[in-house]
Symmetry: C2
Subunit: 197 residues, 2 copies
DNA sequence: GTTCGACCGAAAAACCAATTTGGTCGATTA
DNA sequence: TAATCGACCAAATTGGTTTTTCGGTCGAAC
């Protein structure tokens, strides 16, 4: 199934891939349109036939990555039956997926502070999606009598926030195989609490 | 008990208090040593008799605030009997205490991004203290048979991280009376989990 | 439909003079 | 000895100007 030229070798795709490596290496600001064009073996003006701005290219890259992560997570969730297992699958898939974004992300961490509001926009949009995903699982769990939750909205929001907070110290800094077990421990707290019975 | 001049009216204390209001208003960078000296009704050189640098003054202020918060939290914890109540008291006291730091913090949020590594140092030191506090409570709770926790270290760390992550969206942005109730809901999840039984 | 050279305007970088400012020192006071 | 301060310095910052870079447009060519 690779005998023909891959249909994804579209010019847009070439530009996106070229740009991605340069962005990952130099960050958004330091990357020039000329560099992107050269890497794609095109003239600078040609790029504008496919994307309306540098920001646009960046947005396309980030959204593509985010979509791939979304898809991977959805797949992992659907493979499970109970709500508890779905939550576990979600956390694991998310954790692994975030790792792949590390390259792009680390190049941007210095610029993250600056006022590139469009980055924030993408993040907010994705956060909302995450909360909704979790909310859906929790809701189903409650309806099935599997979970008992006072405030689903708050719990979903808190879970996502906590996960995001744990991302950095647990994963970025401490990137070994034990990390997965650690998340398991946390999930047990989430499911069963810490009160003895 | 206020008939004599308060022993805290030390010159160091005057300098610290003067500096605090100026820092809170203008931030670290924009505040000059001359301004601090004037506010303390001293010559600029005199300041250096008590503090070795501007950074030093700032550090002293932050550490003082942090110590006061620590004390308030410790007091709240000790007033409670069971471990569960101690945790609840801790979270509430912490939440309220952080609010008081808002002034200083908000003036710094723009400079927070810059490489004032000493700020980060204070934060790390304080984080460690927080984790240890929680760890102590959890340990006692387990020993008393009140809690049942797989990995105390991880749970304490996760709880602090999650609290820190929830601080901003739950508290700074949404500063109404309902916030307290929200934390209550979260604590219930922590104690009892979400699994129905 | 695609590619590109030439060009534009705004933003950034580079440069420089003038000023500010964190910090030192020695003398003075008490 | 402890505390205060005026005078001073080197380094950083500021303000303003010039130069360069860079994102983006346009029209021609294929």
């Amino acid at each position: 199934m690779e005998t023909t030229i891959d249909i994804k070798d579209d010019v847009s795709e070439i530009i996106l891939n070229s740009a991605k490596t340069i962005f990952a290496r130099y960050g958004f600001k330091k990357t020039t349109m000329d560099e992107i064009a050269q890497a794609a073996r095109k003239g600078k003006s040609s790029i504008y036939h496919y994307f309306k701005s540098k920001e646009d290219i960046f947005k396309a890259i980030v959204e593509k990555e985010a979509d791939e992560l979304s898809a991977a997570i959805a797949k992992a969730i659907n493979a499970e039956t109970t709500s508890e297992k779905k939550i576990r699958a979600y956390v694991l898939a998310r954790m692994k997926g975030i790792n792949n974004l590390t390259n792009l992300y680390s190049a941007l961490k210095d610029e993250y502070l600056e006022h590139y509001s469009f980055i924030e926009n993408v993040r907010v949009k994705y956060d909302t999606e995450e909360v909704n995903t979790i909310k859906g699982i929790l809701k189903t769990g409650v309806e099935d009598g599997e979970f008992k939750i006072e405030d689903i909205n708050l719990t979903a929001f808190a879970l996502v926030t906590a996960l995001k907070g744990l991302e950095y110290p647990l994963f970025i800094k401490n990137n070994n195989a034990k990390t997965e077990k650690r998340f398991e421990g946390l999930l047990n707290v989430l499911f069963y609490g810490i009160i003895a019975r």
